[in-house]
């Protein structure tokens, strides 16, 4: 007898409808993913599953309940905090302190010049050295980074994708020079280029050669580095860029399939490398959804790998790292972030992650301080040591709701995966730009929900703190870091054998031409003290540098505000402006330097356009000079600089200079949005910035202020 037909359910339904004064059928709530959540789930909801198998066990097909039989009861997840800043010396100190305080694995954050294959002395990266990660120019830096950290014992994760060849080569050589054979190195290299083109934006070469590089690394590590994960297939960045959980899940697994094919096309057997594929997901605020996502990911991957013909059990098992969501954290009332991160961490644990990073409460302000990093780490230590969550494997198994949600999510993701496969796979889709647009659409919807108040963010659009606390921030003097790095590069260059280095770099170029495995000549070049930038350029000679074409969504933001008073007020202001000035307010929205955070810029651009502005969208990686030329030629009224990677104190004054160099009488006003610590406001205002819009800004309010400032400025003429 099913539940629905039994009397108990009917009685419950009556009571429910009486209490809520609603029909049960109307009492659903829709998630971002478009899944209807019912107010109650029953035994009936465990039936007719497409993917989930009801009686499965942990460590067994289809691995929904976890990759291992014992999970945390035997060994808890690895506390792996992502960190890196300034010089190798400073980051090394920071790592050692963290390891002493209970952290178990390392995870290196490189700075943006390193990510994009530029040495610290390159003019293009003036504002970015050491700012958002650690600067690594040569193997000497890499050796310093792991000074007194034995690489045969410490597992090291490295987020590196664009410049993956010289950086992985440096790691291998640093190990060797510590006396550790490469076969003993353990850890993970991210090496996931597809999501770079979609959302993370630290690509260097075009998609095809980039995919070849990925495959080369899988090939090399599968033969020579048996303890090292050759790739970390990442959905995390997609969610951070705005993807809902279905998109994150589907695109990540579809990426994974593409990498499997790339590796197989090198003649590798699937079981030779599949056990060393690893994954990375974000854990946001939707508590049960995130748990279901990790369970669904394992379930689907097992099926996918079986279809690829994998025979070894380890090839079928998805192992993952997780990071709590940074984008759910706010600049306003920042201590709330500790609470958000705790719930997210619990979600990740109940979902069965293998390792975890928890964010610091100053996430939306700057890189963490020693103090905020300690609290973030303790979030996990408390979970492991005080709450008892490690004592049972997959405690939510059998939950009517969670099992049902796991299957729902799997089905939705599978539909998208099937669609992508039919269209020819993820590389093709990425080149056409479709996944990126879908993610931007989802991000824009989320922004509209927050700006319209239909989604509550405590301390931002409701329950605001009347007395915002001021918090300490980590300050990095990028000029000092840059000077230090330049000196170190010089001394390496002075003591190396120039001829041999040139020859080695030529070999790298030739290997690219001859389509040979590239990691081998890169290791040789790095050993001889070629720099990360030099190796990247040697490859660039053959592959060129990739420039992304940017598409934009339109109408998504405006649609949420039909009939909204504030929105219509701005629309009217725009029309009035046009009537007075003969054209619409025209704003150039730009990113400057190597900062690839484009979510905010894209959302602001499309929202402003929806309100009637003419918005010029600059490409990524412009120099201040490029921006000034663009702004003046298009005679824009204002430039909106979106800056999140802490380059603002160098790049904004440079932009002002560039503007007046081209046109000393320029009337173009400049405003700045993104991550700007309060401490820097005065500096920016002194440099003639007209307004600053920090995280959590309501875009309709931004637009109104911008149009008022432009009008004021014009009336001064």
């Amino acid at each position: 007898m099913t539940n629905k037909s039994n009397n108990g359910f009917n009685t419950w339904q009556k009571s429910f409808e009486k209490e809520t004064k609603k029909n049960l059928s109307d009492a659903k709530s829709e998630t971002d993913e478009g899944i209807d959540i019912k107010p109650v789930y029953t035994k009936d909801d465990l039936e007719n599953f497409s993917f989930v198998e009801n009686n499965s066990l942990p460590g067994q097909w289809p691995y929904t309940r976890g990759p291992k039989a014992s999970m945390y009861t035997n060994r808890p997840w690895t506390i792996r905090q992502y960190a890196g800043f300034s010089t190798a010396e400073e980051s090394n100190e920071f790592y050692k302190k963290n390891l002493e305080s209970g952290q178990k694995g390392l995870s290196v954050a490189f700075d943006l010049p390193t990510h994009r294959g530029y040495d610290s002395d390159d003019d293009l990266v003036m504002g970015d050295v050491g700012k958002a990660g650690v600067a690594i120019d040569t193997v000497e830096d890499m050796k310093i980074l792991f000074n007194n950290i034995p690489l045969d014992q410490m597992s090291v994760s490295m987020t590196m994708n664009g410049a993956v060849l010289p950086v992985l080569a440096s790691f291998i050589v640093a190990g060797e020079e510590q006396g550790v054979d490469r076969s003993l190195l353990s850890g993970t290299i991210q090496n996931d280029i597809l999501k770079e083109f979609m959302v993370r934006n630290t690509y260097i070469y075009p998609p095809e050669p980039s995919m070849k590089i990925v495959a080369d690394i899988i090939e090399f590590t599968s033969k020579e580095m048996p303890k090292f994960n050759s790739i970390s297939i990442s959905g995390y960045h997609m969610q951070e860029a705005g993807a809902d959980n279905v998109l994150e899940l589907a695109y990540t697994l579809a990426d994974g399939m593409e990498y499997v094919r790339a590796a197989m096309s090198k003649g590798l057997d699937v079981d030779d490398f599949a056990p060393r594929l690893s994954f990375f997901f974000a854990i946001g605020t939707d508590f049960f959804m995130e748990i279901a996502k990790l369970r669904a990911a394992r379930t689907l991957w097992a099926k996918i790998m079986k279809d690829f013909g994998a025979k070894k059990e380890r090839s079928l098992i998805l192992r993952t790292h997780c990071q709590t969501s940074g984008v759910s954290l706010t600049e306003k009332d920042p201590y709330n972030n500790i609470i958000r991160t705790s719930y997210e961490a619990l979600s990740a644990i109940l979902g069965g992650t293998q390792s975890l990073h928890t964010n610091s409460f100053d996430e939306a302000i700057a890189l963490p301080t020693d103090e905020s990093a300690r609290i973030a780490r303790n979030t996990q230590l408390i979970l492991q040591n005080e709450t008892g969550v490690t004592k049972t494997v997959d405690p939510l198994a059998g939950s009517y709701f969670v099992e049902n949600l796991t299957d729902e999510l799997s089905k939705k993701a599978w539909d998208i995966i099937t669609e992508i496969e039919e269209l020819g796979g993820m590389t093709k889709a990425v080149k056409a730009g479709v996944p990126k647009l879908k993610i931007e659409e989802s991000a824009t919807k989320k922004q509209a929900k927050v700006d319209s108040g239909s989604r509550v963010v405590v301390g931002v659009n409701k329950y605001k703190n009347p007395k915002e606390p001021s918090v300490d921030v980590r300050v990095i003097d990028n000029n000092r870091v840059r000077d230090d790095q330049i000196k170190k590069i010089q001394s390496v260059k002075d003591s190396r054998e120039t001829k041999a280095v040139e020859k080695a770099l030529e070999n790298v170029t030739n290997a690219a031409k001859d389509e040979k495995n590239l990691l081998i000549p890169c290791i040789e070049a790095i050993k001889l003290r070629a720099t990360v930038g030099e190796v990247s350029k040697a490859l660039e000679q053959v592959y060129g540098r990739h420039f992304a074409k940017s598409l934009s969504v339109s109408g998504v933001y405006g649609k949420h505000f039909e009939g909204d008073k504030d929105f219509m007020n701005v629309e009217k202001k725009v029309i009035d402006f046009e009537n007075t000035n003969g054209r619409r307010p025209r704003v150039l929205v730009v990113k400057i330097g190597q900062d690839g955070h484009d979510r905010g810029a894209k959302i602001v651009a499309t929202s402003f356009a929806d309100m009637g502005f003419d918005v010029d969208m600059g490409p990524l990686f412009q120099s201040p000079k490029d921006v000034a030329k663009d702004a003046i030629e298009n005679d824009v009224h204002a430039i909106g600089v979106s800056t999140l990677a802490a380059g603002h104190k160098t790049l904004v004054p440079e932009l002002m200079k560039a503007l007046s160099n081209i046109d000393p009488k320029s009337k173009i006003i400049v405003f700045v949005g993104g991550i700007i610590p309060e401490q820097d406001y005065e500096f920016l205002y002194k440099n003639n910035v007209s307004a600053i819009f920090g995280p959590g800004s309501n875009i309709i309010e931004c637009a109104e202020k911008v149009i008022d400032l432009i009008s004021d400025n014009l009336s001064k003429e």
């Binding site: 940017s550 339109s554 725009v574 619409r584 651009a605 309100m611 969208m617 298009n634 005679d635 320029s666």
Partner: protein, 319 residues
């Protein structure tokens, strides 16, 4: 005017401000703009104006980036007017052309201006013709005008330029049936883009299709229309494009076609301006008299016929 001097000196900000004036919908701006254009037009520069049109996504912007980069390395100065098709219901737009012309937009020998089309006919916005006169006065060797080609628009666009180029993609031969005769009259060069990788065979086939179709429609006294194969992404075929352009310009100049076209375009422009003025005048009169609603009421009540109403209103308006 100081503005004129500064334009002639090639000052970026002056050129940009002048283009704003000619695009402006404000009466006072339009007056200055007329003076400005009247002055500039007296001393034409040496610019060759080239139109690039084609269906969305064939690679116009990529081609312009690629061909433009080639030209600037040959020390040409290049002005680009990109008419961005992305207009919205609200009237706002996102102008993303620069993201497709990254390299060339950095070059000091280029000037790139994007304009929202706001749905104007032919994807040509108000002021495009005037903007090219300004760039000409500022000393640019080539002026590129990029428009999205949708049916009729070629005619409008081709009236602004000395050479009109249609960019098409591999496998577009079928569409030729639809375009047929009209196209041969407006386009001087056909560029089949994406002649690379897997698309190469298809591209060659398309080029052959175009060639045979074009020779079929060729008038006796006309020059042979050129069909070129390029890859914007791989930057191949660019020398052919510039060679062909130079050839056509030389030939047209020799035969007097070049000047003839410019004269025709002037005629067309004058006609257009006159029509615009008359049309806006009539619109004003119509709305001030309120005849339309008055008479349509009568039609509704069956007091007079539809055509009687039209005749009466017309007579009264033109009085």
């Amino acid at each position: 005017m100081e503005l004129i001097e500064n334009i002639q000196k090639g000052e970026r900000a002056a050129i940009a401000k002048a283009i704003t004036l000619v695009e402006s919908s404000k009466d006072s701006d339009q007056q200055i703009s007329r003076q400005l254009i009247s002055e500039l037009i007296k001393k034409p520069g040496k610019s060759i104006r080239i139109g690039f049109s084609g269906p969305p996504g064939v690679g116009k912007s990529t081609f312009i980036e690629s061909f433009g980069s080639y030209l600037v390395t040959q020390n040409y100065k290049l002005g680009i007017l990109a008419i961005d098709p992305s207009s919205q219901i609200t009237g706002g737009s996102i102008l993303g052309d620069k993201t497709r012309m990254v390299e060339i937009s950095k070059n000091p020998n280029t000037f790139i201006r994007s304009t929202p089309s706001r749905g104007a006919l032919g994807g040509i916005s108000m002021g495009t013709r005037e903007a090219s006169i300004i760039l000409d006065a500022a000393g640019y060797d080539f002026i590129f005008i990029e428009t999205v080609g949708v049916g009729q628009s070629e005619i409008v666009a081709s009236n602004l330029v000395d050479i009109f180029t249609l960019i098409v993609g591999p496998g577009s031969g079928d569409e030729l049936q639809g375009i047929k005769k009209g196209i041969t009259e407006y386009a001087d060069i056909f560029i089949v883009n994406k002649n690379d990788g897997e698309l190469k065979i298809e591209a060659s086939k398309t080029a052959a299709d175009y060639k045979s179709a074009l020779s079929y429609y060729k008038k006796l006294d006309e020059l042979e229309k050129q069909v070129l194969l390029v890859s914007a992404i791989k930057q191949t075929g660019m020398e052919d494009v510039i060679k062909t352009i130079n050839q056509i310009v030389d030939q047209n100049k020799q035969k007097g076609i070049f000047e003839e076209r410019r004269a025709d375009q002037l005629e067309y422009w004058i006609e257009e301006e006159v029509k615009n003025i008359i049309a806006s005048d009539i619109t004003k009169r119509l709305s001030s008299k309120g005849n339309i609603s008055k008479y349509s009421e009568k039609v509704m009540k069956n007091e007079i016929s539809m055509y009687e109403a039209v005749e009466t209103i017309t007579k009264d308006t033109l009085k």
